[in-house]
């Protein structure tokens, strides 16, 4: 995703439980770090639409429908909704729901090293 040349410890591992998040500020950049249970992900805390603090949004699931009246609800907690205009973003990819090819938010890789959460900028 990005040529990572900076590694920053942003939290102790137990500080961000599964389903939890922490918003960190590094060099003027605001980044949200999320624990999805099987891995950590990090997204830039700015919505590409109007600049809202995206990572403060609600965590929801992926809702699809094969036909009117039928609802498939999956991946609870993995879809981030912007706190302003409610646009949806996939936490695992940073891609928006409505225009995944063209509209996305910058994502960063995160690793867990020696009980520390490390953000790769």
């Amino acid at each position: 995703m990005t040529g990572s040349n900076r590694h920053v410890v942003v939290a102790a591992a137990d500080e961000i439980p599964p389903g939890g998040r922490k918003i960190v500020h590094i060099d003027g950049r605001s980044v949200g770090v999320f624990n999805l249970g099987d891995r950590y992900v990090a997204l830039r805390n700015t919505c590409p639409h109007e600049g809202a603090p995206l990572c403060e949004g609600a965590l929801s699931g992926a809702l699809t429908s094969p036909r009117p009246g039928e609802y498939h609800y999956e991946r609870r907690g993995e879809i981030l909704r912007c706190p302003w205009h409610q646009w949806e973003f996939d936490l695992r990819t940073g891609r928006s729901w409505v225009d995944p090819e063209r509209l996305r938010v910058r994502s960063y890789s995160v690793t867990c090293e020696n009980d520390h959460v490390v953000l790769h900028l």
């Binding site: 929801s60 809702l63 699809t64 429908s65 094969p66 036909r67 009117p68 009246g69 039928e70 609802y71 205009h85 409610q86 646009w87 949806e88 729901w97 409505v98």
Partner: protein, 364 residues
């Protein structure tokens, strides 16, 4: 009229044939309803939406004969088809039987109206095509009527723009299933009220307000049909919006698309921006058009880009109604020959399955 040559041989997608008097339908109506009408003194269902004396309701010369304008097939043929007139006329009868609250009576009146159209209009001239009038009060009865009448000159289902509930709602879907199965589009036309006030904020005072608000009702209906997933459930369905302006559509699509980005989870079956769905399934007749007094090619370019496709436009004269100015012809004059061909013939030939020659060899 000087405009005739521009539109000679076109398909006129909105022509209004009228019932001369209620008793003209009696030969096609079960005896029980004939007697019901007679005993209760029913005076007929001429639509209040077109006050007989108002200049919009009837263009000069259309008030020929004894019945209301549009009630004599020979007069309509002379005014719409003959000479430099249209090659085909799609008839949309606005006799307001859909406004009846009694579902069985409404359905029987609609059946009688359709049989009368077949006997009186389709039999009179092979260039007439008609719309199947159905009541929305009993959608299953409406579906049966579509099955019964589609084909043999009936090329469309006609629904009133104002219904008891928004037309996308599931209770109406038997109508769309039947239309899709019969391969005919569903048209929405203002002019039949009764179920709700004619404006979204209560009953207006003036006729001019009623008429102005028709464009708003169509906006609500198309919003409903997309949001409810009518087109997801019936991917073959085409909807034709008649006599309600065209130029409002881009503004509706922008607002709807913007809201969809935020609120699509309410309607997860709407998997694409609403504008994409609308462009695939919706056509509009060009009279009235609601354009600036003078339009140039730059205006037309911008409009067509915002609309999305010239394939969404259907030429219409709206006989016998009489609109101010002649924006549809002004539009045609700005179109390229290929675009003009689509608006005058090609789009109609496609959506109404008119004979092949209409869609290719015209317009030169």
């Amino acid at each position: 009229m000087g405009t005739m040559s521009a539109t000679a041989d076109a398909v006129d997608c909105d022509v209004h044939n009228a019932v001369p008097r209620l008793s003209a339908l009696f030969p096609f109506l079960p005896d029980s309803w004939v007697d019901y009408c007679r005993e209760t003194g029913v005076e007929g269902f001429d639509p209040a939406f077109y006050p007989p004396g108002a200049p919009l309701s009837a263009r000069p010369g259309s008030r020929a004969g004894e019945g209301p304008p549009g009630s004599d097939p020979d007069v309509v043929r002379a005014h719409v088809l003959d000479g430099a007139g249209a090659r085909y006329a799609i008839l949309n009868c606005l006799y307001a039987v859909q406004a009846l609250h009694n579902p069985d009576w409404a359905a029987s009146m609609a059946r009688a109206l359709n049989d009368w159209q077949a006997a009186t209009w389709l039999a009179a001239d092979t260039r007439f095509r008609a719309s199947i009038v159905v009541s929305t009060r009993d959608p299953h009865a409406a579906a049966q009527e579509i099955e019964r009448r589609a084909g043999r000159g009936f090329v469309q289902v006609l629904l009133p723009a104002s219904a008891p509930a928004p037309l996308g709602q599931r209770s109406y879907w038997p109508i769309y299933a039947a239309a899709e199965a019969a391969d005919v589009p569903v048209a929405l036309h203002p002019g039949v009220g009764g179920a709700n006030p004619l404006s979204p904020v209560g009953w207006p005072s003036h006729y001019i307000e009623d008429y102005a608000c028709a464009a708003l009702t169509l906006q609500s209906q198309i919003t409903s049909m997309v949001a409810e997933g009518v087109f997801a459930a019936h991917p073959g369905l085409q909807v034709v919006l008649l006599e309600s302006g065209v130029t409002w559509l881009p503004s509706l699509m922008w607002r709807f698309d913007k809201n969809w980005k935020a609120l699509r989870r309410e309607v997860p079956w709407v998997e694409r921006p609403p504008s994409h769905v609308i462009r695939e399934h919706v056509l509009l007749s060009t009279t009235p058009f609601d354009a600036p007094p003078a339009i140039d090619r730059a205006w037309v370019d911008r409009f067509l880009t915002q609309l999305g496709s010239v394939r969404m436009l259907l030429h219409a004269g709206d006989y016998p109604h009489w609109h101010h100015g002649d924006a549809p012809t002004a539009l045609l004059e700005q179109l390229s020959p290929a675009e003009r061909e689509l608006v005058l013939h090609g789009n109609a030939a496609r959506v109404y399955r008119l004979p092949e020659e209409i869609g290719c060899a015209r317009g030169h």
